[in-house]
Symmetry: D2
Subunit: 462 residues, 4 copies
């Protein structure tokens, strides 16, 4: 097979060309992983059957070995013949075991006992072994950046307009906090993924033929896979556990997309406060050799646009008629793609943020553009604090005057006779802020550090 | 104003024509509620300022009184003049207080300190005072129904095809469990909604002019409204708290939609196992007077189709540039509509489920259609359990024969010489199930009761 | 009724507070409009029945009068009694006519003959009388702006980075063209909206009792309302006609959102090439009196985020079981909201674009930032044109040198000995472009004018 | 490479395991197809340059040959080195040509001249060579089925309830008509896909250096690829052409999904009017050997749930800042997946519909269930036609009596003294319908045939 015959960019471009992604995710998101994990559920079942004395320990060992041996290609070939994927898996395993073991494979199970349980296992493992470690590395990178830049002055922007001064570390701390929150959300949703071993309609009809405590049997079997059962199941696990997990992923993706947007705007030619590091041989534009585009940040935003709407599929898949219809089957096969999309963006984000080029001087210059106006807010607050009855309006008019005349608010205010009685009461520190509004950063630096400390502790980072 | 001049069906049809919805939600979802709750934040601010000695207690009381007095119409009029909704609110409150109090209104706040905090307050209150009680009433209704019908035999259906027998109570227990889970999810997300009092760019720039512990000030102020602060904020609270809350609502809506679909399919003419109760004067069809349509269930499904996709808006609103852009402002004004949509459907669902007409006899008749085939699964399990090496295939062929001949599996199996050695080993109980497959319900009834007990206890219901 | 008791921002904020919107849309998007247009279908039916001799002309006149008289409140009251909206309409009309006329009201119709036909009528009329005229006014505004600014130099930006020079009129012409295309798409989809008069399951069962040519009857009746029939219908019109119409609206909304984004970025403090006009009394920020936010552009982007995802509802509503289920009924009641949302944004856009403040000097200054680098592209093209085998790479290295040294490409290139043989062959004009890269605007100005002329002609504008 | 290492089900399951899909779509949807078609644009450019005398014919031929020779793997390798996909393509082509030809490759083009033009070419070709032929085959299948079943009696269903009789051919004709409409929509949108050759910011900056009529040059070049230019372009084509095309595909998918839903509900055990044909060796359920599930129909519904929400991505991609940002690049790479998803479902649908098992007798039996009630509508129409002032109410009460007593409406009506005077006036034919309501099918059969004829003619089918 030639990867250029693939139709999914995830395959031919993002995943199959990335050793890192394949190493991290190969055991959880590929078709191979699906088959293997389903075989693992089959093996676990026989193991518990043996423990219950329904079959021998030797049968269980035989099946466990077979489950590890089978090849996805064998299963696919058998499916081509009989058009049923789990029955194909079962038949394939049977071909690897003795006649004695055959009857116990898939014993009293329905396909979705295997499929839903295996999916829960793969998603939970992917979360713990790939997604969370990757996001934690990114979180660490952001924490380091926020701490490093905690005191670097930057103008805060609302509506794309200069507002009040902050520090760049404070701006980055936003993402330390939001990503930290999503890491906790993903962990919690992953740990809450559930399996099921309750048969074709969820009433444990088949297994009840053989044992008296089918719910206990289910718990025992799922415990082999580090899972708990859905409190109720039909043919399938309650849909909300997966929905919560995907929501956690998609909303984490939104945080990355927002960070990407912030960075690419800060990289605008006119702003130029940050830049993606560029490799020596890298081409910025096929026709404009001087361009340095924020293409990694753009890529993250773009991937978010591709994957975010897929939550609609997840919500639509909550609906399954009666003890289930199959109309969530093909659609859910695509769920691992969301993991790959998110991971691709998270790894990329970590790569660029850990080498982010920042320009402290430029930040200072940009702030200078509106330094004459920034004092408007503290001035109005202080006037109000000293009893001016309509401080906002007074200052609004003063800013209009400043804009008209091109003079700074600081200059105009000291000439204003009406305001003089209030100004006299201002403290030394307050006058200093009005004179040098860049000092008006509130607790930006301390907050940046505090947020980093908080999340480093909550997440067990350095 | 005439409601028929409205353009939103929520207004002219669903909400404004329902006393129940208005009573439950009026204080949380209307424009009046928005203005009132924002005034409440303004009043709370002055209360804490007074406690800190920045203004007098009397000023705080004056503002508190004014905040309760102001009318949304006054604010709207002022906004028409100055084109800024929070400044309009502030100006309006000022008109209701003495000159001494004026400076302390909105002191050191930014608009979104007020807006985001008031929104968190309204959503949290709506959850606790309207959404959760309503869903709990529905949960209670479902529990009662599941318990009542716990032993009523019904055929389980997968792919719309008869599968294995269950009980109707077991089928309803699915929704007891899934709705129970969503109730917990909504409660948890609602309790995690956050406010913020950190100023225009989130660095506490303004308030830091006056006090040394702005984060403590924020905590104190939000505690007045039973809220906690966002761990970090820009001009706005981290978007994920609201996203989690809306996800909880939307995914709860999905559970209602699934239940609605199940019920309307069970009401199909050919199935007729359940029916919406009909009022004496009610018209089923404008042209087919005999029709009894599941229109309430259809309405719930339809409302879900209207509101589910709005999660896309919520995800898009996670992205706000730098210390925020305003492009999430108008879109978030529509969020309360999701609450109204869900509540409309939840109340409707409770109304119809609490009077659901069920037809036990018809359920029995429907099950009888395939009773001759149902034994396939237990037969195959038992053959396998007694060592048949290819039980599934043997039974599959037998079912083909049963379909061809029109005879029941039970009859055919006793005539099959190849299977005889296995059948001899079956227990009395197993033979009884093969002879009367309707007994093959696993632990359906017990599971139904168990699920009801579990959720009744977890949710504090009867 | 008090508008502040409404829950939809469309009602209490956007539509009911706008005389302009109400005047333009009142007859098409309100509940009143729905009732009136449905009564109009009922009247048209009796008119055609009379023409066929099934009832008298006098009956038809009586019904026509009654259809105009009835009040939405009467219908709502009757619906409260019988729980069926069209039967309520029919009963109400009956109360306004003589006994002789009563039997012919809703004669042989099914509810959705009335509802779907009336909806098609309202949407088509709204398109021709409100949406298209409004978008055409906006198109005219954009054409005027593009023509006025056709020669005003601006740097073209890709990836937020300076690319090659264009003119501001050329940038605006993008929206002339894209909006022009959407105007045609809306017109075409609106003219293709269809009605139906084919009865409860679409087979003309009822009307066939009385007449021999039911499809001709349908065509005749719909022609009264300037509509054509769906080529096939069940209880409802084929869903794709409305889907195409809403797609046209939503994709037009996307064009407005993109224009809004462009403008708000050009209004960034560091760029400041354009600005929303501000009113004298207007407040920019509740706490930062100096702010001039692009809040109208932000509002448009935000409204797009609210309405765009609703296309998902439209697609979901394509699915209706058999001869229809009702699960598209409530959801489709919300469709007029999309019209209101789009119109609100279109009117707003016209308002701000027709008073857009542009800063030609600032555009020139911004372009100057990278003027030293812009020559990279023409230089590489010309080198290639004169046979340089690896022009792109040669220029890429030169730009790295330019960035390192802070010197302009124009300077460096004349010093480069390797390139000298090629430069000698450059024409006078080409050398002029390299010396003054701001001249490198291609056919920007002409294209701007050409696009304006093209669309003015296609759309019949000035 | 092993397909089981892929992560996209499209690759490992649906596309790469289907010779049919690969044959139909390989040249349009794979990564190989992307590279090839982009090389084709590069070759076409040089061809037109030669025609203009900018380079020699021999150079053009050399490049054309090179464009056909290059291997996607070469390009991928070069991209790995320089991180720019189009520059990698250009470099690769250069390695295949003489030094003389090198300068003219990608001459005056920007990457997206190539990418957008190649995409338009691939989508248009895919439409004409794969999508439309496949949908036309399905349309032909549906026409044949509708004609064959035109007279087969079936009960019409609204709200899942029996309504009035139709024929099964009439029910299928719905999809003949809706699919016919979508075929026209796809064709029209495909033919309207546009290319662009206007350079980095769309102002033809580069090419204007060399030629005087760049718009004519663009038209000429695109004509080589059977495309027309976007009326305006920035770095990219106006987004709406692709949006219209994808809308046409997605809305066609919705029609398939609705047909799939109808069929799977008709296959419900209790209804059993149709069935998917089953292969001899096929396994219906891993645990219930007797099951015959409508899994193909379910698969189509499920694929629709996966792909429908992706329209949100398309709408989001309408927004690109200024002369474009790259945030639509990765997301648009996924667009061909939508084609593959739709084609997979269309081929599947054709397969099952062309072998659909129908059960005429069962349709008759189902209709019989409510035959006693069906007369309600014609009775009420006829009473009204003969002047009964409140026919609907009279019949509604009669149906309640029929339900209570278990007797048919036909019997009850002749005993009703109040109605006698009206009944006397009924024609023979009308009485026959009341006596045998199965005759009450309106023009179902004729309409089915008429719709088939209409679409066969419009689409040039048999």
């Amino acid at each position: 097979m030639n990867i250029f015959e693939c139709v999914s960019p995830l395959d031919f471009r993002y995943y199959l060309q990335s050793d890192e992604l394949q190493e991290l995710l190969g055991d959880y998101v590929t078709e191979r992983a699906r088959v293997r994990s389903e075989a693992m559920v089959e093996a676990a079942t026989v193991r518990v059957l043996a423990r219950r004395g329904i079959c021998s320990e030797q049968v269980a060992e035989e099946v466990a070995r077979a489950a590890q041996e089978i090849d996805p290609a064998e299963v696919a070939e058998e499916e081509g013949r009989i058009h049923h994927n789990i029955r194909a898996l079962v038949n394939t395993i049977k071909q690897h075991v003795s006649d004695e073991a055959k009857p116990y494979i898939h014993f009293a199970l329905t396909s979705f006992d295997v499929i839903d349980t295996a999916t829960a296992w793969r998603f939970k493992q992917a979360a713990h072994n790939a997604i969370l470690p990757t996001l934690l590395r990114l979180e660490q990178t952001l924490i380091e950046l926020a701490r490093r830049e905690a005191d670097v002055l930057q103008i805060g922007r609302t509506h794309g307009q200069h507002a009040e001064p902050i520090t760049f570390g404070f701006a980055i701390a936003e993402y330390v906090s939001r990503l930290g929150g999503r890491i906790e959300a993903i962990r919690s949703a992953a740990d809450n993924l559930r399996g099921k071993i309750s048969g074709a309609v969820g009433a444990y009809n088949a297994i009840s033929l053989m044992i008296d405590d089918p719910e206990q049997f289910e718990r025992e079997l799922l415990a082999e896979l580090d899972l708990e059962p859905s409190p109720y199941s039909t043919q399938i696990v309650e849909a909300e556990f997966v929905a919560d997990f995907i929501h956690a992923l998609i909303s984490a993706f939104g945080v990355l997309a927002n960070l990407a947007d912030d960075m690419r705007h800060l990289q605008r030619t006119e702003i130029s406060e940050v830049a993606e590091a560029f490799e020596a041989e890298q081409v910025g534009s096929s026709t404009m050799p001087h361009k340095r585009n924020p293409w990694n940040f753009e890529n993250i935003k773009s991937m978010w646009k591709q994957f975010m709407p897929r939550m609609v599929t997840v919500y639509a898949d909550q609906i399954s008629e009666h003890q289930r219809d199959l109309s969530n089957s093909a659609s859910q096969r695509f769920l691992p793609e969301i993991i790959v999309g998110l991971m691709n963006s998270a790894l990329r984000m970590n790569r660029i943020m850990s080498r982010l080029v920042t320009d402290e001087e430029r930040m200072r210059e940009n702030l200078a553009i509106t330094e004459g106006m920034i004092a408007a807010e503290p001035l109005y607050i202080l006037l109000a604090a000293h009893g001016h009855p309509d401080a906002h309006e007074a200052v609004r008019k003063l800013t209009l005057e400043a804009q008209r005349s091109g003079r700074s608010l600081g200059e105009l205010v000291v000439e204003d006779e009406e305001l003089a009685p209030y100004l006299e009461q201002f403290t030394q520190e307050h006058r200093a802020i009005l004179a040098e509004p860049a000092r008006y950063t509130g607790i930006a630096a301390a907050k940046a550090r505090g947020v980093c400390d908080l999340w480093a502790e909550r997440l067990g980072l350095g």
